[in-house]
């Protein structure tokens, strides 16, 4: 006969709406969404013109590129890797787009998009292949490819620059025209977020990425094809970066050897702030997208409230730290609650 003290039972499950609502508010996206809303409200209170149609349009345009980059980076980070070469990839594709228009002014625009994404995908595949084959942390590999790709771009471009005037009008108009009040390129970004988001949430291959990031060895033991999946994540990230590169050429004045330099850290910041843990396995592309919007809104916000624009980088840094600290505090608190509820009654 056992005389042990019984352990308190684990919560018996409850489905239903209240559970779902409570779950929603505990999700990782809420803090960053809340921060964004707070930021917008405070800025508008100080400067009501912040929410004027033109200003909102600018906000959306600014955020577009970062959003797409953040979605791609989130894919990679969720598998417990990182891609520091996206700035260089973006530069290569952007300059490539400019070159293409220059050499073949009549090129159909959809083809340009396709070509850009393909180019990005190939570069992403190089990263992915090195990471999976060499079993070395992606941090180091992509650090190296960041240099290599940038070097290739610099030697290709030299001091040449392509200006938006060199591109077909229709192409540049993508960043100007609106549909239902939203710039076309932003609609592209939104579609990307939704599509990738659904994939990560409700498609088996997407869930596999989470499993890999959560415990790579367990995933391997379980029969998940870790190598091919991680490679695919890098290829997808590369393709999305390529897309962003094409859009960059549409939106911005000029592309050259320095295009995209330094972007990678902003993007990683956006993703981390958006609730995707750097240790992989958690977070969503929705959160990453919100993080991207938050980061790009800060610049505009600072200008609108006449705060020294020099504070922007400092704010970004503080945001990243705050995001990491909050994340850690929450998980420590959860662990403590579990330990208390499951510990012995001694």
């Amino acid at each position: 006969m056992s005389i042990d003290t019984a352990r308190p039972p684990v919560h018996t499950d409850h489905g239903g709406p209240i559970h779902a609502v409570r779950g929603f508010f505990r999700s990782r996206e809420i803090p960053v969404a809340g921060a964004l809303i707070a930021l917008v409200i405070i800025t508008t209170l100080i400067n009501p013109r912040f929410l004027s149609p033109q200003s909102v349009k600018d906000l959306m345009l600014n955020a577009t590129i970062v959003i797409i980059l953040a979605v791609g980076q989130a894919l990679v980070i969720i598998t417990e890797n990182v891609d520091l070469s996206i700035g260089s990839i973006l530069g290569l594709v952007a300059f490539g787009t400019g070159t293409l228009f220059n050499a073949w002014p009549g090129v159909p625009i959809p083809l340009v998009f396709l070509g850009g994404m393909l180019f990005g995908a190939v570069l992403g595949a190089i990263n992915g292949f090195l990471v999976t084959a060499a079993k070395v942390p992606a941090l180091v590999i992509t650090l190296g490819t960041m240099y290599i790709f940038r070097g290739i771009l610099t030697s290709w471009a030299g001091s040449k620059q392509y200006f938006s005037g060199d591109n077909p009008k229709a192409f540049g108009n993508l960043s100007v025209d609106v549909f239902l009040g939203i710039p076309i390129i932003t609609i592209v970004a939104i579609v990307v977020v939704i599509a990738v988001g659904i994939f990560m949430h409700s498609v088996r291959a997407g869930r596999d990425l989470y499993a890999i990031g959560s415990d790579r060895d367990a995933a391997r033991l379980f029969g998940i094809a870790v190598g091919p999946r991680v490679l695919a994540a890098f290829v997808a990230s590369g393709a999305l970066t390529g897309l962003a590169g094409v859009l960059y050429t549409s939106r911005y004045n000029s592309v050259g050897a320095l295009t995209g330099s330094g972007l990678e850290l902003d993007v990683v910041a956006a993703v981390v702030v958006g609730g995707v843990a750097i240790s992989g396995g958690t977070g969503t592309v929705f959160g990453a997208a919100i993080g991207a919007v938050l980061l790009s809104t800060i610049t505009s916000s600072l200008t609108a409230t006449r705060v020294d624009k020099f504070w922007q980088q400092a704010f970004v840094g503080m945001l990243i730290l705050a995001a990491i600290i909050v994340d850690r505090a929450v998980s420590v608190r959860n662990a403590r609650k579990l330990r208390v509820s499951e510990s012995r009654d001694v």
Binding site: V10, D13, H201, R207, D215, L221, G223, V340
Partner: protein, 519 residues
């Protein structure tokens, strides 16, 4: 060790349906070699549908290599392997799962960031017509599985932080959902409390009724005899024999496992008991252990006995300073020992051989020499500087004293056998000349020969006046080596038995009940 002792385990219930005789899994003469090491020479198992079959053997007998072959982690170098009567050849763990073989490891591997339901169905989540994952359906299927097992676990809960017992249940649920015909449970009860063991056994019996074949690997004879229908014994990488549980006794099994009589293994020499070295008063850590008080004197071996999870390791870790404690005091040679400060403990003369050799006792990637002198890094320094040659000389000295078998002091310590690794751990602590040595499961995972060397060494040390605290789950070891046995149960000391009064029954009884008898 008596096999009639009750301690929370229901007595053997023979299966309702007799073992149907259809072989669920059959391994014959499997062999596996790694470099120069023969891990398995003759692995043979005949597992039938509708039976619970025990696999016993000492550490080093080849059990875990055999399990890895069943799981598809290793491919056997030779031998025949059939599942469900058909020959198989697994190249990956996925092949094994596909063939209906599921292994529940001692340390379950769940994905901490995914939900329970998703852990069960990862890779094969139910989908709706659009091809997207149907979470409602997944939740329902998970709940159904848990209902079959009789265990309520929330399928939407994140797997992180679940107790090992719950994780095992989830692994079993996964196995059922994979339509497993063969379930291999590798030392499943090591980290479970009595209630959880009962629950696990209930689940296992239920699965047996449904016709699954269960391979149950364990060191605990009480459980083996209570649960299993047949027992296969292995020794030194070979199959020795198989018996019906009802037709064999524990001493017979032990004899087959060990190849010699038990008595010869644990020679504790009587030593002169001296002054009190360590005094622990009222040590408490909320939720883990309460009001622990005991003394250890020079030349004494005090054993901390009890079931896994009783809190023994936690107590000694707190004494040494790895973990905090909430109240109480630790005094060494009359002086209070600062809590939560391992370096202070080491300086004061305490050595600590931890439970997990690979993760705690050694730095596996460092060389033998560097490991052996890690504890001496401050002592070996002159004017703050260490010389490599002094280090090596010290390491060689201790290696030969303890007869550590290694090709070279510079080899990574991961290349040594378990027994020799443990000797390195001991060497590094003995080199600090401690007055109190704490050893936690000193002979776990060690071959029989080295085991008795270790025991002789400990006995020797006691003879020279060192006080020893030994945490051990192996009853023969405890009974043979200890001058005094402190039995713990659920965080408290339930009995203190001097050598003359200690019997297996009294220890087991105190290990499984609260606060009765000799306190």
């Amino acid at each position: 060790m008596a096999n009639e002792v009750q301690h929370g385990i229901e007595p053997h219930q023979p299966s309702g349906t007799p073992a149907s005789g259809t072989p669920a899994l059959s391994l014959t003469g499997a062999s596996k070699t790694f470099g120069p090491v023969v891990a398995l020479a003759d692995g043979t198992i005949d597992l039938r549908a509708g039976e619970i079959h025990a696999l016993v053997g000492e550490n080093g007998a080849g059990k875990s290599t055999l399990v890895k072959i069943l799981a598809g982690v290793h491919a056997p170098d030779g031998g025949e392997f059939e599942v469900g009567g058909a020959p198989v050849s697994f190249k990956t763990p996925a092949d094994s799962k596909a063939a209906g073989v599921s292994v529940i490891y001692q340390e379950p591997t769940l994905f901490p960031d995914l939900t329970v339901a998703e852990n069960i169905f990862i890779g094969r989540q139910p989908r709706n017509r659009a091809g997207l994952i149907n979470r409602g359906e997944m939740r329902r299927m998970a709940r159904e599985l848990f209902a079959t097992l009789g265990v309520p676990i929330d399928p939407d809960r994140i797997a992180e932080g679940l107790s090992i017992a719950d994780q095992q249940i989830i692994e079993i649920a996964k196995a059922i959902s994979l339509d497993a015909k063969v379930l291999v449970m590798d030392e499943p009860t090591a980290a479970l409390s009595g209630v959880e063991v009962d629950r696990l056994f209930g689940v296992a019996r239920g699965l047996r009724e449904k016709g699954a074949g269960i391979l149950f690997i364990s060191h605990r004879f009480e459980e083996v005899f209570a649960l299993c229908d047949r027992i296969t014994v292995m020794r030194d990488g070979r199959y020795i024999g198989v018996h019906n549980t009802s037709e064999v006794t524990v001493p017979q099994i032990v004899k087959e496992m060990v190849g010699r009589e038990l008595g010869a293994l644990f020679p504790k020499v009587d030593a002169a008991i001296g002054e009190t070295v360590l005094s622990v008063e009222g040590l408490t850590r909320l939720g883990t252990f309460r009001d622990i008080s005991f003394e250890v004197r020079a030349g004494e071996i005090v054993a901390l006995a009890g079931l896994v999870g009783a809190g023994r390791t936690e107590v000694v870790r707190a004494v040494f300073g790895i973990d905090r404690y909430d109240s109480g005091s630790v005094t060494l040679h009359g002086k209070a020992l600062a809590p939560h400060n391992p370096q202070a403990a080491i300086t004061a003369g305490i050595g600590f051989v931890p439970e997990d050799r690979r993760k705690q006792g050694l730095v596996m990637d460092l060389s033998v020499a560097k490991n052996a002198t890690l504890t001496l890094r401050k002592a070996l320094a002159r004017f703050g500087l260490i010389s490599g040659s002094r280090e090596r000389r010290t390491a060689e000295d201790w290696s030969s004293r303890l007869q550590v078998k290694t090709g070279s002091q510079d080899y990574a310590v991961s290349t040594l056998s378990g027994g020799n690794q443990q000797k390195v751990v001991l060497a590094k602590w003995l080199a600090t000349e401690p007055t109190l040595l704490i050893v936690d499961e000193p002979t776990r995972g060690i071959d029989v020969g080295t085991k008795s060397e270790v025991h002789r060494l400990l006995s020797d040390l006691a003879g020279r006046g060192i006080a020893i605290i030994m945490v051990s789950s192996e009853l023969p070891e405890v009974l043979g080596m200890a001058d005094r046995i402190l039995v713990m149960h659920e965080g408290r000391i339930t009995a203190e038995l001097p050598r003359a009064e200690a019997t297996a029954e009294r220890v087991m009884s105190a290990a499984t009940s609260s606060l009765e008898g000799a306190l």
